[in-house]
């Protein structure tokens, strides 16, 4: 544990009868790029606002580098926020917006001017210092909001859906830009988003939140490959989840019965080892074969009928109806060799058991 870790300990926040954050405990290491991911209303923004001091927890403790900041006034915290709506001061120039925090802290004029200029250069707005926010585009306003927060060199920078208002192309560009800036300044970034792709692209660590609690926390790849629950499996990317009954354990595998198909999952990839469970496989890890005879040995397989094929350029997405009625999604990369299966074709869907996982239902 380094000095400036942000620790949230058993924090609960209720609004009337609604529990927004429920006994949350979380440590965000110093210098990391941390994403809080979840659907709207999951408590991610409330968590952020409690760290900023804009909401006070009902219970629990928030510490920053060992210092208890739970009830510290927002203007006394070494924390700055990039708001979703940017909240730029419309009556001030871009320079005055960026200088606002430094002036409140009583920095001298020369230092303020130098730091503001440096920060505007960092966000590539050096030419725009004398403009008013209303004269800038959405992407430029977003960068002013970032500069205004970063110039104060906070211990932690909080970002509340900062890219939500930008169009897709600009959003991709700003994701890379934000990541670059974070690496450059080395400040802890806590990024709240509902966009799973954004969270995975940018963050070192992602926490998936639901109903005020953390469902799973970890590195993006780790969570994607081995989700802790059906919720995470569906929220981070797409998953095929097949209802299955655990029948036994043997040779480092858990065997299950899924609608009459006997399938195996490596024990290390099982979150549950008894009762009813869901067997999951990501669509890009499923393969198509003409029939069960063509399935490579060692692969698990089920039969089905292609109901839909849509070509998306990099891949073709197939929907295959399994004998028990539900549909499996299969992504076949467009590597230019396989001849496409047509809707109505009888196929076998197969996968390596090492690519499947078992979660509680």
């Amino acid at each position: 544990m380094t000095d400036q870790d942000l620790c949230i300990e058993n924090v609960t926040k209720t609004f009337g009868g609604f529990t927004a954050v429920d006994d949350l405990t979380l440590t965000i290491p110093d210098g990391s790029f941390f994403a809080l991911l979840g659907a709207s209303g999951c408590g991610k923004t409330t968590t952020l606002r409690m760290v900023a001091g804009l909401e006070e927890p009902n219970a629990g403790r928030i510490t920053l580098g060992g210092l208890d900041i739970t009830r510290m006034r927002p203007y006394k915290r070494p924390v700055n926020t990039v708001f979703q709506s940017y909240a730029l001061f419309p009556h001030m120039s871009v320079e005055d917006n960026v200088a606002f925090g430094l002036r409140r802290k009583g920095e001298n004029r020369a230092d303020t001017r130098r730091k503001v200029a440096e920060m505007l250069d960092l966000v590539q707005l050096g030419q725009y210092g004398s403009r008013r926010p209303a004269q800038l585009s959405g992407g430029q306003q977003q960068r002013v909001a970032l500069a205004r927060a970063l110039v104060n060199q906070p211990e932690v920078l909080l970002l509340d859906e900062p890219l939500g208002a930008l169009d897709l192309k600009l959003r991709r560009q700003m994701q890379i830009e934000l990541k670059r800036i974070q690496t450059e300044v080395g400040i802890t970034f806590v990024h709240v988003t509902h966009d799973q792709e954004e969270a995975m692209t940018m963050a070192d660590t992602v926490a998936v939140m639901q109903a005020g609690r953390i469902e799973q926390l970890g590195a993006p790849a780790e969570m994607y490959e081995f989700p802790a629950s059906a919720f995470v499996a569906n929220f981070l990317g797409q998953s095929n989840l097949i209802k299955a009954e655990v029948t036994g354990q043997a040779d480092g595998h858990v065997t299950v019965d899924a609608h009459g198909n006997r399938l195996a999952v490596p024990s290390a990839r099982c979150r549950v080892t008894s009762g009813t469970a869901l067997l999951g496989v990501r669509p890009e890890k499923l393969h198509l074969a003409d029939g069960l005879a063509a399935v490579p040995s060692g692969h698990a397989a089920v039969q089905g009928v292609v109901t839909d094929a849509s070509f998306t350029g990099v891949s073709t997405q197939y929907l295959v109806r399994a004998p028990w009625g539900s549909e499996l999604t299969v992504f076949v990369p467009n590597s230019g060799i396989a001849n496409p299966a047509l809707p109505g074709a009888e196929v076998a869907v197969h996968w390596s058991p090492a690519h499947s996982f078992l979660v509680g239902s």
């Binding site: 900023a52 001091g53 804009l54 006034r73 927002p74 203007y75 006394k76 924390v79 700055n80 926020t81 708001f83 709506s85 909240a87 730029l88 001061f89 419309p90 009556h91 606002f100 925090g101 409140r104 802290k105 004398s130 403009r131 008013r132 209303a134 004269q135 205004r148 927060a149 104060n152």
Partner: protein, 277 residues
């Protein structure tokens, strides 16, 4: 003939516009014109007859010439400024409370604040008079001031509230996040953004107070605290002094100057904005 009707058909909206403008401005033009007339007697102050029009600067050079006219004007300005100051401060605070905070009675306050605007002045005047008599408050400056503050507050609240409602509440949070104390956040961010609304409310309050007659007439009682509108009303019986026209014209020109200044400011700002973008 055909061409004439076509011309009418094409220009009738424009013509209608001119007629409407004339309808609005002719009475003001008459007052302006009469301010340069020396009436034969006080009973003909409002007779505009070009045959007997007697051009003079007297009404302008000797504005206070008629007995009591400038005393009443000063009283109206004094009452107007006092009522504006109090009503603007109170009204602004009420607006902040109504927009920013949730409290018991907020809904009913929001509705009741409109009541003085909706009440006929004659009703408000009589009920205030009854109240002041019942409380044994001596009539005069104090009762006039209380009455004016009361009916001005509603207008201030409505005006400032509209401005505040359009303000992103995150601005205050952003300021506090950037190390501003609540007072600094108010002074540096909120106040400058709400100020145009407060100024507009103050101007409105002043003009409402300055020309109020009905309520003032009731709450002056038998005191000799005669405001300008009451002076005019009173002298109407004996004949209105011609200086009234000069003062009315001056008042119109002052408010007109305010409007022009405001327009120029907006135009200059948008020109600057256009130049930099």
């Amino acid at each position: 003939m055909h061409g004439f009707w076509r011309w009418i058909a094409e220009k009738w909206v424009l013509l209608l516009g001119f007629v409407l403008l004339a309808y609005l401005f002719v009475p003001i033009a008459v007052v302006m014109l009469l301010s340069f007339n020396q009436p034969a007697s006080r009973n003909t102050t409002y007779v505009l007859d070009f045959a007997t029009f007697d051009f003079t600067w007297n009404n302008w050079t000797d504005m206070c010439g008629a007995a009591g006219i400038c005393d009443s004007l000063m009283r109206s300005i004094y009452v107007g400024l006092s009522a504006t100051l109090i009503a603007t401060i109170l009204g602004t605070l009420i607006s902040f409370a109504l927009v920013r905070y949730r409290f018991i009675g907020r809904g009913s306050t929001n509705t009741l604040i409109f009541l003085p605007m909706a009440t006929p002045e004659i009703v408000m005047g009589t009920s205030l008079l009854t109240l002041f008599i019942g409380l044994q408050i001596p009539m005069g400056f104090l009762t006039i001031l209380i009455a004016h503050v009361m009916f001005c507050i509603s207008f201030v609240v409505v005006t400032v509230k509209a401005r505040l409602a359009g303000l992103d509440p995150r601005l205050q949070e952003a300021a506090m996040d950037l190390y501003a104390t609540p007072w600094q956040a108010f002074r540096l961010v909120i106040l400058p953004l709400v100020l145009p609304g407060i100024v507009a409310a103050a101007l409105l309050a002043f003009s409402l107070s300055f020309d109020d007659f009905i309520i003032t007439n009731f709450v002056t009682g038998t005191s000799d605290y005669t405001t300008f509108p009451m002076f005019i009303w009173g002298s109407n019986l004996r004949g209105i002094p011609p200086q009234v026209n000069a003062i009315a014209t001056a008042m119109f020109l002052i408010s007109f100057a305010f409007v022009i200044a405001g327009q120029l400011r907006t135009r200059r700002r948008s020109a600057r904005r256009a130049a930099t973008s």
